[in-house]
């Protein structure tokens, strides 16, 4: 049914007669564009352009537009363009196409590149300060929600809190245990391998114990939770925002912060210390196993060395940080979720931002805590 498109041009005196033929449809788009492009220069010179459509077997918008474009080119060069032999069933289409693309859209004004760059920097700065404002605003509304709950303890969403605790706490245990176990094992192996050179391999226990309890246990777990649960919070709240569910909550006289964010953030604050503890234990266990099988240090000796090397202080230093990190992850995740706009792309962007920002802030916070604990001598 579909036949190859043709376009023959026969100049006779001042008249250029064009005879398009075959299927002028989107299926032959590349050929058609070439054909009409080839003929274009001849259009400028001819006095009268006559297009005889009798040979066209099929025509669609694309074909009709290409023909219209040719006749417009001739007209704009000050010549006459006649189209004859239009089949009845295509006359409507050709009339329609004559109307389109008449108005050239206003050209986009070209901006000075330096001004554009300065604008970008300015917007970036404003964006950064807006981030801080959003964080503080979320922290403030969270405090208000907590005060509200303290005044009316029944308004705490216990079901929601339990469910979130199950999701971010209980369900996270296997992966957290696996990762921290491996980290502990790797640290112990590296320590033994390098310490052995100067006969200090028994100090590996000190290193693993202090490193895991003070820093790595909580940091690794916080980063894992930011990636696992923080991103889930942002995506959930973001899609609720997109589907106007958060607006629906507000119109029912409920505070979205209290209903949605408080249970989530409280669940994180409860779960992260527990997960950090479990993670630290798994890391010590991994370290102990490597010390036994790789370093030849039996479990009894390992535990005895550990007992000497670490004190409760080390454990406290680590675990005190956990709720604060949870707070930062929760606030960042929720406030990024609320900043999602209408599109799917924006949801993805805010989720990425949430994870990147919360991991960054968790590490910064860890550094601040290190300075603080050093200055108070813990």
């Amino acid at each position: 049914m579909a036949t190859a498109p043709l376009l023959t041009a026969t100049p006779s005196g001042d008249t250029l007669e064009l005879r398009p033929g075959g299927s002028w449809t989107a299926a032959n788009a590349a050929t058609l564009e070439r054909l009409s492009g080839d003929i274009a220069p001849q259009l400028d010179s001819a006095g009268i352009v006559k297009v005889d459509m009798a040979g066209v077997r099929e025509l669609d918008t694309l074909g009709a537009w290409l023909l219209e474009k040719m006749s417009r080119r001739a007209t704009s060069a000050g010549h006459r363009a006649d189209i004859v032999g239009i089949a009845d069933n295509y006359s409507g289409l050709i009339d329609e196409i004559r109307q389109v693309n008449r108005r050239t859209p206003a050209p986009v004004p070209v901006r000075n590149p330096i001004v554009t760059k300065l604008g970008e920097i300015g917007r970036g700065t404003i964006g950064a300060s807006e981030d801080i404002t959003a964080f503080l605003q979320m922290l403030g509304s969270l405090c208000i929600a907590i005060l509200g709950v303290l005044r009316r303890p029944r308004s705490l969403r216990l079901t929601s809190l339990t469910y979130q605790l199950y999701r971010v706490g209980w369900q996270a245990i296997p992966i957290i245990v696996l990762i921290t176990f491996l980290i502990g094992a790797i640290i112990a192996q590296q320590g033994i391998f390098h310490f052995r050179k100067f006969g200090a391999d028994s100090y590996v226990v000190d290193m693993v114990g202090i490193l895991v309890l003070r820093e790595l246990g909580v940091l690794i777990v916080a980063i894992m939770v930011a990636g696992r649960s923080g991103s889930a919070y942002t995506a959930e709240l973001g899609s609720m925002k997109m589907r106007e569910e958060i607006d629906a909550l507000s119109t029912m006289g409920l505070d979205p912060i209290e209903v949605l964010m408080l249970p989530r953030i409280l669940a994180l604050i409860c779960a992260l210390p527990i997960l950090s503890f479990i993670g630290s234990m798994a890391a010590l266990y991994g370290g102990g196993l490597v010390a036994w099988f790789y370093g030849g240090m039996g479990p009894a000796i390992f535990i005895a060395r550990l007992h000497e090397a670490v004190s409760v202080t080390h454990f406290e230093v680590g675990i005190i940080k956990a709720p604060f990190m949870a707070l930062v992850i929760g606030i960042v995740a929720c406030s990024e979720g609320l900043r999602v706009k209408g599109s799917a792309e924006s949801l993805g962007k805010q989720t990425t931002t949430s994870v990147v920002k919360s991991i960054f802030l968790v590490i910064v916070l860890d550094g601040l805590f290190a300075v603080f604990f050093a200055s108070i001598g813990m």
Binding site: A26, A29, T61, L62, P105, G342, S343
Partner: protein
């Protein structure tokens, strides 16, 4: 043989679609003539969208045959990727939210044809103007469009490759009566200009009355009545009677007195 495939755009024979044991489409037969606007009505959740999605090969069927423009349809990649054979207007528009309106319309062109960028822009603008929008609207993102504009852009995208058939899933739902009326008129105009066959799932009694050449009623998984609107108004089938003679449908009744 020749004249049946010339005459009918869509032929459905003995179609059965079921999800587990729940039979949605039960030995259904339906013919859509070339160049007509067919409206499909049915209860909410009664299988209208399932029928449409089965015809375009998105849902597997348990039995029966489907032919679109003389070509058999199956639930496989080959059918689904037969771009250009049909255009589909999804209920919510289903515009790609990360692309501008112009890029949305150009997407099928870009994927299927070898065209220069300049020509592609001209075609996109032409389509935009054909659905009653302005060239400047092409730079907007879908999230910046109103409901009526979203539907128009989605229609422009459905028409990008000049398909012979367009499937419209509730094209006027969520539009105010004026916008819905304009959209009906647009469908009618485009159907005439482009010689389209339109398969339209709708609940809008006004658009059934004004633009559809024929109306098919789907109940209990079968087409229980099909024909021009006035024939359906006389149908004796209880569901069809309830649909067209309910309180909301009073405006369609011929004045008795």
């Amino acid at each position: 043989m020749q004249d049946t495939s010339e005459q009918f755009a869509i032929r459905v024979r003995d179609l059965v679609v079921a999800f587990r044991r729940h039979v949605v489409i039960d030995h259904l037969a339906l013919d859509v003539r070339r160049g007509e606007i067919l409206g499909l009505v049915g209860a909410s959740g009664g299988g209208k969208s399932v029928l449409m999605r089965t015809i375009i090969g998105l849902i597997p069927r348990q039995g029966g045959e489907i032919e679109v423009m003389g070509a058999p349809i199956n639930h496989d990649r080959a059918t689904r990727s037969a771009a250009g054979r049909w255009g589909i207007l999804f209920q919510q528009g289903a515009l790609f939210s990360s692309l501008t309106v112009r890029q949305n319309i150009q997407f099928p062109l870009r994927e299927n044809l070898m065209l220069s960028d300049a020509l592609m822009d001209e075609i996109a603008t032409a389509k935009l103007e054909m659905v009653g929008l302005k060239a400047e609207d092409g730079d907007k993102f879908p999230s910046e469009l109103s409901g009526g504009m979203t539907k128009r852009v989605a229609l422009a995208r459905a028409l990008a490759l000049d398909p012979a058939i367009v499937f419209l899933d509730e094209p006027t739902s969520g539009l105010d009566p004026i916008a819905a009326g304009d959209f009906d008129a647009l469908i009618k105009t485009l159907q005439k200009t482009l010689g389209l066959t339109v398969f339209m799932v709708t609940h809008d009694l006004a658009s059934l009355n004004t633009v559809c050449d024929r109306v098919a009623a789907l109940a209990d998984g079968k087409i229980v009545a099909i024909g021009p609107m006035r024939e359906l108004l006389q149908s004796e089938h209880p569901w069809v009677r309830a649909y067209f003679h309910g309180k909301r449908s009073q405006m369609l009744q011929p004045k008795a007195s």
